[in-house]
Structures are given as structure tokens and as C-alpha cells.
Amino acid sequence: MAWGDLRFMRHNFVSIMAMTLVSPVLYLIAFGYGMGQGVEMDGVPYIAFIIPGIVALSSLNASFSSTATRLNVQRLYYRSFDEMMICPLRTSSIVIGKAILGFIRGLISCLLIFLLGLLLTDKLIFSLPFIACLMLSCLTFALLGEMAALLAKTHQSMAVFNTFVILPMTFLCGTFFSVSILPDIFQKLLYLIPLTHASECIRAGALGWNFPLLSFIVMIMFCLLFYAINYYLVKTKKV
């Protein structure tokens, strides 16, 4: 199922990776170096605080956009998604298969950013919880991208989803600052969003902090929820 998407990634590997890395590197320079010099957040230098946040953000952007854009094009422009629906494939194979491109692209770009981060600060550690959280995050946001593309009626509706869901998540969910500094009501709202939990888990894993098990469980729940919605949409052919 994912073979075609992986061939597509192979054909365009350099440009895809370059595009994926532009935003995170700019964030790193602007917020990490430009504004974060001499600043501490949650007891660590801001550059060490922000790198896991940018990794979490990249897991959202890279996984979501690569899945959503390609599936949206396949559904509404190439119409090649219909061909997959005609083939004797299990619904679960279609749902997982369409998320694999986003999962792999997210994982590669996040690991590249993390490697860059290792050169910039000695506070980061490459640990099992970090990689587990990163993989879960990439899968969750790839499934979210799949959901957005399956629900989109037009190319325009994808842009609307990006503007009103993805962009606010980018800046508010504990990526650039600790959610704990916000008023209580905002904190409660932000904990309803998966990226907040992804940021907490990835940051804890990367900085060797106490592991936020509850956030990890919430992430799993979001992942299962997006999977279930996609499964329903494909199974009932509401796409």
C-alpha cells in the first residue's frame, strides 16, 4: 500500500527533506539563538528547552503535511485513491499504509533536527523514551493528516484546516514555551490538544526528565482515535 508513496519520496528525497528542515532551522535560529540567549526555561538553557519543542513541532508539520498533501492530491486531483479502494485490501492496510509516508518523513526530519541539536547543546540525550515518544508522535500526526485529507471536500478545505488547526497548535502547545506559565484555563484547553502532550513527552525523553506517563497515554488515545476515524471513513466509503 505504501510502496507508491515511498517511491514518490525516493524520487523527491532531497527537495522533501530540504523543505522539511527550513522551518525548524529558522525557528532554532530565531527563537533559540536570536531571542533565547541567556534565558532559562524550566531549569534548562532555552536552547536545550526549545530543541525538543521544535522536534515535536516538526513531527506535527512533517508527518501531517506529507500525509495530508499527498493523499489530498491522490484523492481529489489524481483520483488514484479510488484505485486503492478497488483493490482487495483490508481497511486497516489502507489506513496504516497511507500514514507510512508521513511517519517516515516525520521521523527522518525530526532525527536530523535532533542531531543538529546535539551539536548545539550537551543537555540532550538520545534515549529510548525519546525515540518511543517521537515515533508515537509521528504516527499520530500522520493519521491526523490522513483524517484531514479524507474529510477534505476541496483543496481549499485543506488550507482552512491548516490555518485554523495546525497553525495555532504550532505556536501554543508547549513547543516554544512551557505551558505551565499560562493561566489555568488556557492550560486546560491546551491539554486537549495532542501536540501539547507530544511536546511534554518528547522534551522529557530528550532532557532525561521524569517521564509524563499520563501524556504518553493521552497520545496513544489520540493515535487510536485518529486511526478509528480513518478506519470508519474508509470502511464506509465516506471518502
Binding site: M1, F8, R79, D82, E83, M85, C87, P88, K237
Partner: protein, 287 residues
């Protein structure tokens, strides 16, 4: 004939889109090995019917049995028997011709040893060598359609559905595609196609169903349908350009009627499917 002789059986098939009824209780039987055509104007329900019969769209009522498998009970087995060529080119335009073929073979779970063998066989059969590494968008309309057909038959389906296969093709490409459809049929594949080209239905199909407003209003061989009105048609056009059609069982009675007309132009010709369609629906197939 028993049900086993039919590869497609649809009974009282109903499909609604919100309040609009797209298919209004269609009954249909297609024999193994025949070329069956659905003839009707745009919006008649042809594409909806193909999407349902090819397992792509769900339906609201009725029963569909494809190659002995009820779609509501055993859709996976039905899918194995089916290949679909949609009206639009539905290939992955980011991939090459070869990659599209390989991807389709993978999705049909053709075992690895048979996969490469089948791909090689199709490449040779369709003389595809020089296009294998081409991206889809660099091909002409006719070749895109050919590649669509090749991808659709990669798993050797017993039925292929073609939705308006020659729309947008020039006459030469259209005739080449007709030849290809005949070749596939000669190999034993049942062909179900939709068209709004009378000459296509007449040239290709063993049997034709005329569909209008989501209902099949006539069904039979092209010659039976045409001749049901009368073998010969007299078209009498008055000086104002208004035409009247009359149908006769033989040329002699048609000529007799034509000779009795004193005003305007008279044309005597064989009755065709278009005449049948106009008589049944009160409009031409293209309108």
C-alpha cells in the same frame, strides 16, 4: 440460463445522494464473456452504476452479485474479479508507468514470482517498452488510457468496467481503444462499458442497456433495440428545418411513404440506437 451464466447480477439496485435518486431500482444481468454497454446521457446514472458494480461506492438498496459473490457479504472476493478503468485518468502522476504497474500489482497481492512475469507479459503484449520510465503526464491521452487499462488488468480480472473509455480521445485513439477492448474480450474477459457515443455502443457491444434518470428503459442487442422501432427510418425535413421520423419494417414501405411526401427533404436510412433512444426518452443521447 442459470445464475451461474451471469457474471453480474443486480436486482432492484437503488442509490441516493442526499435527496437525489441516482439509481432507481435497476435490474441487470450480464453474461460471462459478453461486452455489455450502458448507453445514456450525462447524469443518467451510468457512472454511479459502474462505481457500485465495481465495489467503489456503497448502495442503499437491492442486491449485487459479482462473479458469484454478493457485494454486501463478500466484497473482497468480488474485488479480485474486477478491474476498473475510470472516466478520468486515475493513475499516480508522480510515478512512472512501470512504477504504476508494479504498485497496482502489489496492491492486488500478486505473488512476487508471478508479478514480474505478468508485468513482462503485459509490456510485451502492449509494446510498452519505450514508455516504462516515462511519467504519466508525459504520455498522450491515448497512451494514458492504455496504461490505465494495463494497470486495471494486471491481476487478470474476469470483468473489466470502463466508464466512458473514449471521452476526450481523437478518432484514431478511439478506434485503437476499441480494438484493445475487443482483444481483451476475445481472451474471455467480460467487458462492461458506459458510453454516450451511439457509434461506440453499436460498434462494440453485444448487448446494450439504455439508462435514463436512474432507470434502465430498454435492454437488448443493438440491432434488436434499433429494429424494435422498424428496420428503416424515414426522416422528413420540412422547409423550416423541422424533422419528423417514421419507422418501417422494410425498405419498400419506407420508400412508399417517402415518395408520398411532397414537401421538404426525405432521407431513408437504417434505424439506429439514437432513434431508439430518442423514441424512448424524447431527447437525443448527447442532450
Amino acid at each position: 440460463m442459470s445464475d451461474e451464466d451471469y457474471i453480474i447480477i443486480a436486482e432492484n439496485l437503488v442509490k441516493r445522494y442526499d435527496q437525489k435518486v441516482a439509481l432507481n431500482g435497476i435490474d441487470l444481468k450480464v453474461k460471462r464473456g459478453e461486452i455489455y454497454g450502458f448507453l445514456g446521457p450525462n447524469g443518467a446514472g451510468k457512472t454511479t452504476a459502474v462505481r457500485i458494480l465495481s465495489t467503489l461506492t456503497d448502495f442503499d438498496g437491492g442486491t449485487v452479485i459479482i462473479n458469484g459473490h454478493n457485494l454486501k457479504k463478500n466484497i473482497m472476493k468480488a474485488k479480485v474479479s474486477v478491474g476498473v478503468i475510470q472516466q478520468h485518468i486515475s493513475l499516480d502522476k508522480d510515478l512512472t508507468v512501470m512504477e504504476n504497474m508494479r504498485h497496482r500489482a502489489l496492491m492486488h497481492q500478486i505473488p512476487k514470482n508471478k508479478r514480474e512475469e505478468r508485468i513482462a507479459e503485459l509490456i510485451e503484449y502492449f509494446s510498452l517498452d519505450e514508455y516504462l520510465d516515462s511519467k504519466i503526464d508525459s504520455l498522450s491521452g491515448g497512451w494514458k488510457k492504455r496504461v490505465s487499462i494495463i494497470c486495471a488488468i494486471i491481476h487478470s480480472p474476469e470483468i473489466i468496467f470502463l466508464d466512458e473509455p473514449t471521452v476526450g480521445l481523437d478518432i484514431k485513439a478511439r478506434r485503437l481503444l476499441w480494438e484493445l477492448i475487443r482483444l481483451l474480450n476475445k481472451d474471455g474477459t467480460t467487458v462492461f462499458l458506459t458510453t454516450h457515443y451511439i457509434e461506440e455502443a453499436q460498434a462494440l457491444c453485444d448487448r446494450v442497456g439504455i439508462i435514463d434518470n436512474g432507470k434502465i428503459i430498454a435492454d437488448g442487442t443493438p440491432s434488436d433495440l434499433s429494429e424494435s422501432l422498424g428496420k428503416f427510418t424515414v426522416v422528413a425535413t420540412d422547409p423550416d428545418g423541422k424533422s419528423v421520423y417514421k419507422y418501417f419494417p422494410d425498405r419498400a414501405s419506407a420508400s412508399e411513404y417517402g415518395n408520398s411526401m411532397t414537401n421538404g427533404e426525405i432521407l431513408i436510412r437504417r434505424t439506429n440506437l439514437e432513434d431508439c433512444f430518442v423514441e424512448l426518452t424524447g431527447r437525443t443521447v448527447k442532450n
